[in-house]
């Protein structure tokens, strides 16, 4: 094989790979956009290394990053618990009004996040439709941890449901039929056949959903400004003290998330 490849001239090689080279060339612009933006951020921060150290040892900063990551995780777990069954149902059943439900699930993808935040606030505030009865039970949503989670959940739900649904669709229903004929109940078939085969997609959806939840700003801002989460702290520092004050927190948040998500993708590839 290698010997044959060596016989090909550079020109022939390029000719064979023409479409790939074009794809890489065009796709490179997108990568460049992200790389330059983040690269610039990191580069500028490198000049002010002491600022980064100061941020990394500031308890307020660390707490806000901790809140963002952990509340996003809670939001993703809730999305997983309710979203995976919904995705399974949508993938396997046809019914009247299915498109409507699918449309409703996808609404958070289209509406401006600030609109979603205002709408959520209307429902979950003290006198809101859900907020008021919960308040009687002593549960406060706005400006509290549950508010952060609900805002994140609302905005990140479609990523998990849509990806999981496509994953379930890819599992051949005949595998489920055979499992049933072998005596497995519907539940056991789901647990041992359908779910494990759809799992890579579900995990992918969960990762997207988690990432989306961490990055949520507008909706969280309106529903729960406090306890202060990372994007809000960054915004606050930016408006009060400027770029130099907000940048180290951004760099810190991005670095931590990058490590987590690369690790998750590696894990996902292994599980396949």
């Amino acid at each position: 094989m290698r010997v044959q490849e060596a016989r090909m001239g550079m020109k022939e090689k390029l000719k064979r790979e023409k479409l790939f080279i074009l794809s890489l060339f065009l796709g490179f612009f997108l990568v460049l956009l992200v790389f330059i933006t983040l690269g610039n951020l990191f580069y500028k921060q490198a000049e002010d290394f002491s600022g980064l150290i100061a941020a990394a040892t500031d308890l307020v900063v660390l707490k806000s990053i901790g809140i963002s990551i952990s509340m996003a995780l809670v939001s993703t777990l809730i999305a997983f618990f309710f979203g995976v069954p919904l995705a399974y149902f949508l993938a396997r059943k046809d019914f009247m009004g299915k498109s409507i439900i699918e449309g409703i699930v996808d609404v958070p993808l289209m509406i401006p996040h600030v609109v979603a935040g205002i709408a959520l606030y209307g429902v979950f505030m003290r006198y809101g439709m859900i907020g008021a009865p919960l308040r009687k039970l002593g549960i406060v949503i706005t400006d509290a941890y549950p508010g952060i989670v609900i805002a994140m959940l609302f905005m990140s739900l479609p990523y998990l449901v849509d990806t999981a649904r496509e994953g379930f669709k890819k599992v051949d229903p005949r595998l489920e039929n055979v499992a049933r004929s072998l005596g497995a109940s519907h539940w056991r078939t789901f647990r041992e056949i359908t779910f494990p085969l759809a799992f890579p997609s579900i995990l992918s959806g969960a990762i997207l959903s988690w990432g989306r939840a961490i990055s949520e700003f507008s909706a969280v801002l309106i529903l729960a400004y406090h306890p202060i989460s990372a994007p809000i702290l960054i915004y606050e520092k930016f408006t009060s003290f400027g770029l130099a004050a907000s940048r180290p927190i951004s760099v810190l948040l991005i670095s931590i998330c990058l490590v987590i998500f690369i690790a998750l993708r590696v894990l996902q590839r292994r599980s396949k």
């Binding site: 051949d172 005949r174 595998l175 039929n177 055979v178 499992a179 049933r180 004929s181 072998l182 005596g183 497995a184 109940s185 519907h186 056991r188 041992e192 056949i193 494990p196 085969l197």
Partner: protein, 352 residues
């Protein structure tokens, strides 16, 4: 034993219509039909993957019409084998044992899996994953997985269609062996007539969601009930005629293309259709003396080679299938006058 009574099921773009079947215990039953006849849907309905709109399914004397598939003790094998891709061969075969025998220990299950793997000579594949197996190997694993749970019935949906010829021949024998060894009632769906002929105790021909004819292979291939069925089983000679006389069960039929054909038939008179298989017609240079009751002279209009055979079309509306060697030794050419001979027992008569 399986009984399907007045079964009807509508899928909007397709429907199973008025299906009635009785399949005996231990029988090898083949459902034969062209693609799109609804064979798979019928099989899946018997397995319980669908609930019919009307009608009933009975298995071993029990009404199972609304019973979920896991409680029917019916093995199912698909054309593409449908092995669980995330489980290895051993785990695939063990899957059903885990749900059926709650009391059985893991050791008992393992022993049973090993026995079946030995019996089908696939023990060496135990730790392999389905994606690494050939089609034939995958189908053997699928068979092993299905029979591991000792089903009373095995439903097979085109189980040999995706295989090369040698593997197909080999697995056909394995399927027979499964039936003999375990006494399982086999219901096998196929569009392949040879497969049906070789395997079946009885055949049901299915077309457009309906069962058209049920019978022994001989009945299906030689005594089709109508012209559509005759065409499907490859009876190329369909002649219209009128019964003029019937003496001792031999009907004398005047055919539209001219001439008279003798047939073993009870028809006393009236318009009929006459079916003759092309391979039942013997060609010779001239009339001779033989026991065959029918002799017709005709000119050759077309000669067409199909593999080792030659299809000979004649101007008297008959098509004969002979070997290439016969064609060469007779020196047949277009326009030659030949004598077509066939027995009265080779002629099947239906009302026209």
């Amino acid at each position: 034993m399986i009984e399907v009574r007045d079964l009807y099921k509508d899928w909007k773009e397709f429907a199973l219509n008025d299906i009635n079947l009785e399949i005996e215990k231990g029988e090898y039953f083949v459902i034969l039909g062209p693609t799109g006849a609804g064979k798979t849907l019928l099989l899946e309905t018997i397995a319980g993957f669908y609930i019919p709109d009307r009608g009933e399914v009975w298995i071993e004397g029990d009404d199972v019409t609304i019973l979920p598939p896991e409680r029917r003790r019916v093995g199912f094998i698909y054309q593409d084998y449908s092995l669980f891709p995330h489980l290895n061969v051993e785990q695939n075969i063990e899957f059903g044992l885990k749900s059926r025998k709650k009391s059985a220990s893991q050791d008992t299950n393992r022993k049973r899996v090993k026995e079946i793997m030995d019996w089908l000579s696939i023990s060496h594949l135990a730790n392999r994953y389905p994606a690494t197996l050939s089609g034939g190997e995958q189908q053997k694993v699928a068979i092993a997985r299905a029979i591991a749970i000792e089903p009373s019935i095995l439903l097979l949906d085109e189980p040999l269609s995706a295989l090369d010829r040698r593997t197909k021949d080999y697995l056909r024998e394995e399927l027979k062996r499964v039936k003999e060894e375990f006494g399982i009632t086999m219901v096998h769906v196929t569009h392949d007539q040879t497969e049906a002929l070789v395997l079946a105790d009885r055949i049901a021909v299915m077309m457009k969601g309906r069962i058209m004819q049920v019978g022994t292979p001989h009945e299906i291939f030689n005594k089709p009930l109508n012209e559509e069925l005759a065409d499907f089983v490859g009876i190329e000679n369909v002649l219209c005629g009128v019964v003029r006389n019937n003496v001792n069960g031999i009907a004398e039929i005047e055919v539209g293309t001219g001439g008279t054909i003798f047939a073993v038939s009870e028809y006393p008179g009236g318009a009929v259709k006459v079916f003759i298989r092309p391979e039942d017609i013997i060609l010779s240079e001239s009339r001779g003396v033989s026991s065959a009751r029918n002799e017709m002279m005709g000119g050759i209009t077309e000669l067409h080679d199909i593999g080792p055979l030659t299809r000979v079309k004649m101007d008297i509306g008959l098509i004969a299938l002979i070997t290439k060697q016969s064609r060469e030794s007779l020196g047949l050419r277009n326009g030659d006058e030949v004598c077509a001979t066939f027995k009265a027992t080779s002629v099947h008569v239906v009302s026209g």
